[in-house]
């Protein structure tokens, strides 16, 4: 006999949690769909040369790669590279702008630690243009994420938005473009490490002059509401093309987001979000739960100039965001933000008493036709155990059907929360359960 176990870093839930997990997944998917995005489902396995065309460094070390026959195979580590492959492969069949979402598992063989997964769901949504892509999509994408988190109803959140051109243009102006990646990495950490350590690192690690450090600090410390920030940025009068284009784009996108119905309070300009990746070239987003910032960003993304340069000469700009569902779910659960959420599959369980299975099945069929999920508990057990079973399933009701009930054409509906029990006709039962 072998002890049944699951590998560390792989999430596997008990039914009650799995139901909640799936409900969150469904909220994400139905919102993605409601904006007319089409589903995509790419293989988990790809040829290594395809998947690793772009990868390197840390990512590559984490990848599950192996040989089968003569083929070098890889498990996908994100959904962006497969999207790039897909668009290049099917370029002539697709129409642009190509709006797709993909919800699926990705794999990273990291050293497992609390809150880190080796297998986890990403829920990606992207629009890809051909040659160019209207800036309006930079506003549409976060408005979809907004509608997701509103519907999830897990507390107030804020979508932070910036534009990398602003920071990069600013660093160009300071002649720091050669070390911009290092500076951006530090800026990403600013809120964590604090002003002192930040300035210290700029000096010691990057060897910057006092003057440049002060410039960077004055930039970073631009504060106020989003409109004030925009006007302060403009007042810096930096004569850099990228910088000014970035401000213009940010201004446009910020205002457009409101047209999409995002409430003022749910979006803010935050010049500190730089997103580590070189990948993003314009708008960038991070989303935080106001009362649980410690969770980190629950949905991030941005605009990129060219999706699939490794596979095609076509220029494919895009913008997208992603929700890391596995991690989000774990964090919501840890912080008890899922308490009281409905995790019911069968609303009612039908209990035969005596030789009434036949009638129970008929009633069960009628309920199902009325979209009331339910099942008959056929097992022979003590009544008490049947109720225990129904409670464990989170059913709201049991419907008790004995021979008396059949003769009277009235069935006993027992509410498992209030323990109230009523003898009712089927029509009335349907009415209550609906």
């Amino acid at each position: 006999m072998i002890e049944a176990r699951t590998l560390p870093g792989f999430m596997q839930l008990l039914p009650e949690d799995q139901i909640l997990f799936d409900k969150i997944k469904n909220v994400i998917e139905s919102n993605y769909k409601s904006f007319g995005f089409v589903p995509l489902d790419t293989p988990v396995l790809e040829a290594s040369e395809i998947l690793l065309a772009k990868a390197g460094g840390e990512t590559e070390k984490q990848i599950y790669e192996f040989k089968k026959g003569d083929n070098n195979l890889c498990m996908r580590f994100d959904l962006t590279v497969p999207l790039a492959k897909y668009v290049a492969e099917n370029f002539n069949e697709l129409s642009f702008p190509f709006k797709r979402y993909q919800i699926g598992k990705v794999y990273r063989g990291e050293r497992p630690q609390k809150g880190r997964y080796r297998e986890f769901y990403q829920c990606d949504i992207d629009v890809i243009g051909r040659d160019k892509l209207s800036l309006d999509y930079d506003a549409e994408i976060p408005s979809i994420i907004y509608s997701v988190f509103k519907e999830l109803d897990i507390g107030k959140f804020t979508i932070n938005i910036s534009n990398r051109k602003i920071l990069l243009g600013f660093l160009e102006e300071l002649k720091l473009e050669n070390i911009s990646t290092d500076v951006l990495r530090l800026i990403d950490k600013f809120e964590k490490i604090g002003k002192e350590n930040f300035a210290q690192s700029l000096k010691k690690d990057l060897n910057l002059s006092e003057e440049k450090i002060n410039s960077i600090l004055s930039f970073i410390e631009i504060s106020g509401d989003s409109k004030e920030q925009l006007s302060k940025l403009k007042n810096l009068k930096v004569e850099n093309e990228n910088f000014n284009l970035g401000i213009e784009e940010l201004d446009y996108v910020f205002n457009r987001m409101k047209s999409f119905g995002i409430e003022d309070d749910y979006v803010r300009i935050n010049l500190l979000i730089a997103r580590g990746l070189d990948y993003y070239t314009g708008t960038v987003y991070e989303t935080f739960l106001d009362d649980y910032k410690c969770i980190g960003s629950v949905s991030s993304g941005g605009r990129y100039d060219n999706l699939a340069g490794y596979y095609t000469k076509e220029k494919l700009p895009g913008v997208g965001m992603s929700i890391g569902l596995t991690r989000l779910f774990t964090k919501l659960k840890e912080n008890e933000l899922l308490k009281g959420k409905n995790s019911v599959v069968a609303k009612v369980i039908v209990l035969p008493m005596g030789e009434t299975k036949e009638e129970c099945i008929k009633i069960s069929n009628i309920l199902r036709k009325n979209n009331i999920s339910n099942f008959v508990l056929f097992e022979d057990m003590k009544f008490k155990n049947k109720i225990v079973f129904a409670n464990k399933q989170n059913a709201e009701f049991v419907l008790i059907i004995g021979e008396d009930e059949i003769n009277n054409k009235k069935y006993s509906l027992k509410n498992l929360n209030t323990f109230e029990q009523q003898q009712l006709e089927i029509e009335k039962i349907i009415e209550i359960l609906k």
Copy 2:
């Protein structure tokens, strides 16, 4: 530049097909749920020792197995072994009967050939009992499959049902229990190879006497409707306990299926379905599309005595069926059974004409609040190309919003099938699109 490609044996669909695929998946899932089954999602990767506890022969050769660090890992090749592992691992947390479904990808590194996949979806539904499991579930499971295929509306189908105890008992009676696997394998092929070849094989390959061959033939050739078959079976007067228990069970399950609402014409007793696997111990099922038998069984399964003997001493009998969705989808498409099925994501596409994006977004929001999926096409293109785009997306309507429309508060709704175009107020538009 690397040429973008997908590995052979891995399905990757264009949007239109992916939408159809997902719709079929949703029909399966919603039916599984309506009977109160809970979702399960196990890892794609498991420790080899766990997944291969039971495997052997052909299966083992096909498995994607590899080492990462010190671990031997396997990609799952079905959803049954992970279920066994899951139930053993979480035995104390689960309540029985445990009704679960799992829809997910599984992996078999077969030599790729037409219609064979290395990555494919299985849609499994099982009930697991503790120590015992009521025979009523043997009738419930196929009735769920029945409701799935009814809703899919892809033509008349028939669920074939038998009970392995009958055949095995019969072979016991003929003292052939030692070679029962070989005989069953031949019986599985009976319809394909025909009576002559079948008898020939029994004689040559298995060395059976004329008398035994005739017995087997007379058994196999039992015909008539299901009730006649049952009575002919009883009339054989075989004094074997297994045989008679099998008949009793089959009789019970067959009648119970009707209580669940399966129409007479959709189920038949077929003593020839033996299911190759040793695994099944009682009821067995195969499902065929009447007009496309060549597709093979579209949903199979059966009753097993003990799910997880490799992982636990608990006795866990169960019954389940599975739909091989990837293969099914391919076959339905090949046979043009999906023609005319709706593959729309956005019902209407909103087209701004001139500087009307702001108003378009507002209208789009209103439609979405009324559950009408839609999006604004922001891209600057010729009107003709916008219509081409909308047609490619299978949208049913476009809503044209220019400055005139805004002034009149009437918008131009164009039906892309009839080319009819009307100027309508938003309330009227919602009414039409709903």
